[in-house]
């Protein structure tokens, strides 16, 4: 009762204030980015970072709010990517039912979400490092299954010749439309996670993360909440998988290998798990490093450089780039106060 009164007493914020200055500046910058970026920077850096940011976001949702660290997010994305290849058109002469995109995409995302819920259901009884291990096992098993199954997955070659759809007179794999498509879906996922984290379900999930026994004693169905979180994370990873297959134009076991699974974890860890913006920051750093490290130190040692940058970030700030920001912010606030005095 008292809670309701306090809510009524808080002054009404308009939607601009509620959005926050940071979000508005970021949104304007991202929308205007195509004006300054080349096609390569739009898709290979921008689009790719947004896609991997979404994968990191789905992991952040599980790990940050649910305390469940998953290595299987790329597997979930792979399931929707393969679904697009199988249900839509490909030029590998295997399967390819030729469904239109508006039918294939919902099915692919649904399949990914259900698979994610299933993975969650299997792993939800474990905690901490055991969740990591069991999801790693699922990711590895799926990788080898795709690699060695020819009837459905077409083995090591996978599927090629997958085209992003063209509608409303726009080819959605062209640099600008594709960037905006990625941006749109990333913003949607980001907003959904941010909103969800403050919803009743989000609060319950965070409470379960902090003390599952107490929540169980209070009468909450802990397993159901966790599995539902997996389902939601699966929707985001599934959307990222659709974008990924349109981006590459192909999908093969290499797309969903253990390397890629670990990339997603690195992205989330480097970015930080405390706020949904973290994975996107991490994705930008990782994608830039993976693309350009070879130009800095040459072909023989570039992976060493990538590893060292990651080490430095985690060394300086154990909770990622977000943690760095958290440490710098008080200093900035102090400085900005001074001129006013």
């Amino acid at each position: 009762m008292s809670l309701a009164i306090t809510t009524n007493l808080t002054p009404q914020q308009n939607w601009l204030e509620r959005l926050g200055a940071g979000h508005i500046i970021l949104a304007v910058a991202l929308v205007l980015y195509p004006l300054v970026a080349s096609d390569f920077f739009l898709t290979q850096i921008g689009g790719y970072s947004l896609i991997f940011g979404m994968l990191g976001l789905s992991l952040m949702l599980l790990a940050g709010y649910g305390g469940m660290v998953s290595l299987a997010q790329i597997t979930v994305a792979g399931i929707s990517a393969y679904a697009i290849a199988i249900l839509g058109n490909n030029n590998s002469n295997i399967l390819g039912f030729g469904w239109p995109w508006w039918l294939a995409v919902p099915f692919a995302v649904l399949a990914a979400a259900l698979a994610s819920a299933l993975i969650g259901w299997i792993s939800v009884r474990t905690e901490g490092i055991y969740t990591i291990m069991i999801t790693l096992a699922i990711a590895t098993a799926t990788y080898y299954f795709a690699q060695q199954n020819y009837a459905i997955f077409n083995g090591h070659s996978g599927y090629a010749g997958i085209r992003a759809p063209a509608f409303w007179g726009i080819g959605w794999r062209d640099a600008r439309p594709f960037y905006y498509l990625c941006l749109g879906l990333a913003v949607l996922s980001y907003a959904a996670v941010l909103y969800g984290s403050r919803s009743t379900f989000g609060m319950t999930l965070q409470a379960i993360r902090d003390n599952p026994r107490r929540m169980r004693a209070l009468g909450y169905h802990v397993t159901a909440h966790k599995v539902f979180a997996w389902l939601l994370a699966g929707v985001i990873a599934g959307l990222a998988g659709v974008l990924l297959v349109w981006f590459n134009g192909r999908v093969s076991p290499g797309t969903i290998g253990v390397d890629a699974a670990i990339d997603v974890l690195i992205i989330a860890v480097i970015g930080g798990l405390r706020h949904p913006i973290g994975p996107f920051l991490g994705a930008v750093v990782v994608v830039l490093m993976q693309t350009f490290a070879i130009d800095i130190v040459g072909a023989e040692r570039f992976n060493t450089l990538i590893g060292m940058v990651f080490l430095v970030i985690v060394f300086v700030s154990p909770d990622g780039i977000l943690g760095l920001w958290g440490r710098i912010k008080p200093h900035l606030a102090q400085e900005s106060l001074r001129p006013g005095q």
């Binding site: 030029n91 690699q147 070659s157 090629a160 134009g249 999908v251 093969s252 040459g298 570039f302 970030i313």
Partner: protein, 415 residues
Amino acid sequence: MRMHRRTLLALAVFTGLTAPSMALAADDTIKIGLLATFEGPFTVLGEDGERGAMTAVAEMNGTVAGKKVKIVKGSSDASPDSAVRAARKLVEQDGVKVLVGPLSGDEGIAVKDYAKTQPNVTFINGTSAAQDTTLRDPAENFFRFSTDGAQWMAGLGTYAFNDKGYKKVATVAEDYSFPYTQVFGFMAEFCKAGGHVPSKSWVPIGNKDFSSVIAAIPEDVDAIYVALGGADAVNFLTQYQQGGGSAPLIGGSITVDQTVLTSKGKLRDVLKGTPSAGPTADTNDAPAWKTFVEAYKKQPGAFPSPSLFAHGYYVDMKATLLGLDQVGGDVSDGGKKLRDALSKLSFDTPTGKVSLDKNRNAIADIFLTEVTEGADGNLMNKLVKVVPQVNQTLGIPEDEFMKLGAVNRDNPSCP
């Protein structure tokens, strides 16, 4: 705080360095992309490919048609996705108009597909040797001066049946398009001569434990045909030998390559006497080959003898440079002149004459070899026989060859 600023600075510097690199490329340099595997199970192979390509560049003193050659490198991990991503970076960010690579079979097919979307860029293969890269649905701007995996097997099937007397052979090969092509090339001759292949094992790239594969090989075979590359070959051969396996081996081209022969351990005893075939032979005493070996050895970290990856990348890079030389380094017309020149190009490599067929796939000499110990204790491939000017259809008329069907795990078959 300080660290944060430094990170930002580093980011700003390297985006600044790379973004305007297109604009900085002056008229007196030609940029060539070099795509090879510098990560994953084929790293050693990719590094030797790079040595081969750099040998060709060094041979021309780093210039072509009076312009300086600038090599921009891209790395893949042998998966088709990573190859396309690296190729995109080289073409769309670094702005190369000519790209040499990639190394491995499925990568080649993926890059060929990508080539179709970049009609103004000329793609010259590295050592990727899947048959379908050029035989079926080829790209107008994709050239292969190194031959394909089935061509590399020319003469081996007949030799194994007639000279070695093997009637029943089991095969163990990696599970992707290049080993399919190799097994196809071997079996095309071996089955025709009257041989039988009762079992074929396909193992994933990067496999570590081969015990189940070894257990599945039938007891009564006369020999085992092995087409594995790099670390996979070393792992399989070591485990086969430790498991007490004693059947003689027949080697795929990259199984008895310098990338495997230089590995240490008891493997040496197993490999001695293994017949194989491929685009090179270590004991080739042709002067051109010896000159090439000397030039190759000047590259840092070189093997005692160039691997077929060094050779393949050398031949393709050399063809690229010769083609560029013929057009005066001019690719401003979207590379049309260059592609015309390359299509007609025919030149003498360290391993004989190379020319292209109508699908832009090479016709070249193939070497039948046997592994032997050299005077200095190094294992090498002794030249047994040269099969001259093998074409992509292995001398079979094209329509008849196409009827054999696309290579895959089940084709061909002669149990």
